[in-house]
């Protein structure tokens, strides 16, 4: 391979990996809720849209950046606890399918509410980060992508520390392991689930801002959930590390496939490559790369 080709390969790979981080950001929100309550929250995308739309609308009304961020976060906290109280608590002990359908309905309600509240027009969102590429050893990298990756890394670091070093984090892990035992031990599941939805709301806010800055804040933002699903199949639905690695694989895979396989099939691979990969993966390793393996002596 020529040196120039090699540089091009690296550039595609790095670009893919960095865009994969954006998928991971969405997937992490799913993992948080799925891990602790067994609910596949289809409304994560709607929450992401809601957060981004709320933030951008507040900023457009002249509220300073930091204050708008704080207000949006508060609204996401309220939303998290409201969902736990009104949707999940009455449905506790129902089948996973029932809960999934509930979150599917919830996603339309949240989308509807977001647009009712803030209107349907497309908003531009400027986070003040350049999206201009710069050169590192002959490879062009987007500054925006780097910032997004940095934010994702910080968030994952923060979440891991939270899970491992705090009391509520310990309670999260206990509930994720054995709900019935957690109940018997005296952990207050309602409060824990409310907190988890809040954490997922926070993740939705971060992801919503980054995606919003990239694509514009609009209705279709909620469709990024569809890109998170293959990431989850690859990484495992209950692993944050899996969500990261899955996102990287999907991001890098679809960019490389587009560039190197695309010409042979007439292009357009990027749109469906992730799903084909996930489908193949389901046959080989249905639990995902980092899905929970049952820890058990035999």
């Amino acid at each position: 391979m020529e040196w120039y080709d090699f540089l091009f390969f690296i550039e595609v790979l790095v670009g893919g990996l960095l865009s994969g981080v954006m998928y991971s950001l969405v997937a992490i929100g799913f993992v948080l809720i799925y891990k602790t309550s067994g609910v596949l929250n289809f409304a994560q995308g709607a929450m992401l849209l809601f957060a981004a739309l709320t933030f951008v609308s507040l900023v457009e009304r002249g509220i300073p950046f930091a204050l708008a961020l704080a207000i949006t976060l508060l609204i996401m906290v309220a939303l998290g606890f409201a969902i736990e109280r009104t949707v999940l608590r009455p449905l506790v002990n129902r089948s996973p399918m029932t809960l999934f359908m509930a979150t599917l309905g919830l996603s339309y309600i949240i989308e509807g509410a977001a647009q009712l509240l803030w209107g349907t027009q497309v908003h531009g969102l400027d986070l003040g980060i350049d999206d201009t590429p710069f050169e590192v050893y002959g490879v062009f990298i987007s500054k925006f992508d780097l910032v997004a990756a940095g934010l994702a890394a910080a968030m994952v670091g923060g979440l891991s520390a939270f899970f491992h070093w705090t009391r509520i984090g310990l309670a999260f892990r206990a509930v994720a392991d054995d709900q019935f035992a957690a109940l018997a031990v005296g952990l207050r599941l309602n409060r824990i689930w409310g907190t988890v939805w809040t954490a997922a709301g926070f993740v939705a806010l971060v992801a919503g801002l980054l995606w919003g800055a990239r694509l514009g804040v609009q209705f279709s933002l909620s469709l990024v959930v569809l890109k998170a699903l293959p990431v989850l199949v690859l990484g495992g639905f209950d692993s944050i590390l899996g969500a990261i690695v899955g996102g990287l694989i999907v991001g890098a895979g679809e960019k490389l496939a587009e560039v190197y396989l695309g010409p042979f099939v007439g292009g357009g691979i990027e749109g469906w490559f992730a799903y084909a990969l996930a489908l193949a993966f389901l046959l080989v390793r249905p639990g995902g790369l980092f899905g929970k393996k049952l820890v058990e002596r035999v």
């Binding site: 506790v92 009391r167 310990l170 892990r173 206990a174 109940l183 031990v185 005296g186 952990l187 058990e296």
Partner: protein, 266 residues
């Protein structure tokens, strides 16, 4: 006297699962403060259902108490969430141990302190106490609880319960699948807690021989009805009752057979 001053009073309780499947139809039982009461009965007699009713865990398994009531220190348990009961000192150790498998032994113990919202100092003291009671847990404190032996898991589950500072300790089949020596160690520890701290204990057991050795009183449940109760010493003498209500042969097979198997893999 014990009938009125019980820390726990179960009064003609009936319970169903999924609104239709009857599991209990009339169980009476009292635990006096400082007493160990054994709840005996064969597989499927309703022991576990009764214990879940006592700790108000039935609703979580789509069950419900339909008749009678259960009073813990005079308060109807149906009005209190399991978390509230744990805070008041009614602490349950579930059948089959239910350790948090991916958590370490020490983390498992700490969840018991979480349930009670213990302070740091209390947690530290309680942790030391559990390690003093079960030295084997101190050695395995950093080990994932899914990887320790069945006996150690049972000790972890009991230790986790003790971290909530129980006044009434409710245990469901602590001997299940364990070697006789381990069962003995566990019951000796329970007896010690009972003697030294005045801990009241309600323990369901299929292994009636062991349970009757350590209990003050016993209640026999058969097909969801409490059939017989009396001092443990008295029931120990009556082999006929054991055979009739507890399925004689099956209990002895169960006592000797599965345990050595578990040891072989330990």
């Amino acid at each position: 006297m014990a009938e009125t001053a019980g820390i726990l009073k179960v009064d003609r309780v009936a319970a169903v699962y999924a609104g239709a499947i009857a599991a209990l139809h009339g169980v009476d039982l009292t635990v006096a403060p400082g007493e160990i009461v054994a709840l005996l009965g064969s597989n499927g007699a309703g022991k576990s259902t009764l214990l879940k009713a006592v700790s108000n865990l039935l609703p979580a398994e789509r069950g419900a108490v339909t008749e009678g009531r259960i009073l813990f220190e005079g308060q109807d348990v149906a009005t209190l969430a399991p978390a509230a009961l744990a805070r008041r000192g009614l602490v349950t150790v579930l059948e089959g141990r239910h350790c948090f498998r991916s958590l370490t032994v020490e983390e498992n113990l700490l969840t018991g302190a979480l349930g009670r919202s213990s302070t740091r100092a209390e947690t530290k003291a309680d942790l030391e106490r559990v390690y003093a009671l079960f030295p084997r847990l101190a050695e395995k404190r950093r080990t994932t609880s899914g990887l320790i032996s069945g006996g150690e898991q049972q000790m972890t589950a009991i230790g986790r319960g003790l971290m909530s500072r129980p006044r009434l300790f409710v245990l469901d089949e602590p001997s299940m699948g364990l070697a006789p020596l381990v069962v003995r160690e566990i019951f000796l520890t329970l007896k010690r807690l009972n003697r030294e701290d005045g801990l009241s204990i309600l323990v369901a057991e299929q292994n009636s021989a062991v349970a009757l050795d350590y209990a003050d009183r016993a209640v026999v449940v058969e097909n969801g009805v409490s059939k017989l109760s009396g001092p443990a010493a008295e029931l120990r003498q009556r082999a006929d009752i054991k055979d009739f209500y507890l399925g004689g042969e099956t209990t002895s097979i169960r006592n000797t057979d599965p345990a050595p198997k578990e040891e072989a893999f330990a």
